[in-house]
């Protein structure tokens, strides 16, 4: 500020000189004085530009050193990408598992339907007393075979249906993962809004109190629910399998 005042004084001095030269008709000296005045004006402009550049640079630096922003960019986004890829794998597996079971069960149902249709025709013939004794003996063998095969087939269809049932467990896991990613997206959104706000009024620092809160919130909280585990992202505080759960519980006297 004091520098600005000094420059103002100098400017005033030069302006008075300039007017004086004009009054006495000394054109050459007047031109010189005007040139000096312009120089001062230009240097003020450069100073202002320099200050703006510095502020902008500092604001950008403060963003890159902000923990929350760097964890979002370095950890959380790749983490979310990993989780979403896992969702794709899970849903893909479930769809294939279901289709495999359907493809295995459908032909069995069709065979069963065919056999029942044929047997029905034969049985009608028998009831109408149009069947010869040898034909009946053949039919009884066919019926015997039908019973044993259809028993097996129905068990197989039942297994396929159970497999379809179990394949639906993906929805629970993927639902939880997607909910977490939605939370992250919301956080990224609010961070971007903050960036825009700060960018629009350069030089104004974001509230340090809320930064501190954000950092604390992001620190690993042992009681915070971790959600479903994603392969390749295991951590030491997390058990890997049902066997590990059983071991841990038995170590606690279970």
């Amino acid at each position: 500020m004091s520098e600005d005042k000094h420059i103002d004084g100098e400017t005033l001095e030069l302006a008075k000189k300039y007017v004086g030269f004009l009054e006495v008709g000394d054109a050459e000296s007047a031109d010189n004085a005007l040139a000096e005045l312009t120089d001062i004006r230009e240097s003020q402009l450069f100073n202002e530009l320099g200050r703006l550049t510095r502020d902008f640079h500092e604001t950008l630096n403060s963003f890159s050193s902000d923990d929350r922003f760097s964890t979002l960019a370095q950890d959380d986004i790749p983490d979310a990408r990993e989780r979403l890829n896992f969702v794709i794998t899970k849903t893909d597996d479930a769809a294939h598992r279901t289709l495999n079971a359907v493809e295995s069960a459908l032909p069995l149902c069709e065979t069963l339907e065919d056999s029942v249709g044929k047997l029905n025709t034969e049985w009608e013939k028998f009831l109408a007393k149009e069947m010869k004794p040898q034909e009946f003996r053949d039919l009884s063998l066919v019926i015997k075979e039908f019973f044993s095969r259809s028993g097996e087939d129905v068990r197989s269809v039942r297994n396929d249906l159970n497999d379809i049932l179990m394949a639906q467990d993906f929805q629970d896991i993927t639902g939880q993962i997607i909910k977490r990613v939605i939370t992250l997206v919301t956080e990224v959104e609010s961070s971007l809004v903050e960036l825009v706000k700060v960018g629009s009024k350069l030089g104004v620092k974001s509230s340090s109190a809320s930064d501190e809160k954000q950092k604390q919130k992001h620190k690993e909280d042992p009681t915070e629910l971790a959600g479903p585990q994603v392969p390749g992202m295991e951590s030491e505080t997390i058990v890997a399998s049902q066997d590990d759960v059983d071991d841990l519980l038995s170590s606690l006297g279970f």
């Binding site: 467990d169 939880q176 629910l225 049902q242």
Partner: protein
């Protein structure tokens, strides 16, 4: 173990409730009901004379761990066997559930065999303690 016992299945995902109920039916347990979180489950438990509770952990409203704690703190329900079926695999959480008095802990995704084993184990213990 009484196959007619009344079982309450609590999970916020309807597909998971269906899976658990189907698996239970396959094991011979047909007397099952379900609830989508602890808040819905609590009045059912209080008035329904259930014999067994199967619950998820992470649910909106009231979580499974809070439901377990409420059950253990209630004189009428304190001895109700509780099996937790959850995607939460942190050691701290398993320990917390154990300390809160859970009878069994299954991590998702799980198999029909695991469910059968844990239920058998829970009721073996209860029967041998009688």
């Amino acid at each position: 173990m009484n196959k007619d016992m009344k079982i309450l299945v609590v999970d916020d995902f309807s597909t998971m409730r269906r899976i658990i109920k189907n698996l239970l039916r396959d094991l011979g347990f047909t007397n099952t009901s379900d609830a989508d979180d602890g808040q819905t489950a609590w009045p059912m438990l209080k008035s329904g004379s259930y014999d067994f509770l199967v619950t998820d952990w992470n649910m909106p409203g009231m979580t499974g761990i809070d439901l377990l704690k409420a059950v253990r703190a209630d004189p009428d329900l304190a001895s109700l066997p509780v099996l937790m079926v959850t995607a939460e695999q942190k050691k701290e959480q398993i320990v917390e559930a154990a300390q809160a008095g859970v009878n069994g802990y299954i991590v998702k995704p799980f198999t029909a065999i695991t469910l059968k084993e844990k239920i058998d184990k829970i009721f073996e213990r209860i029967d041998s303690a009688k």
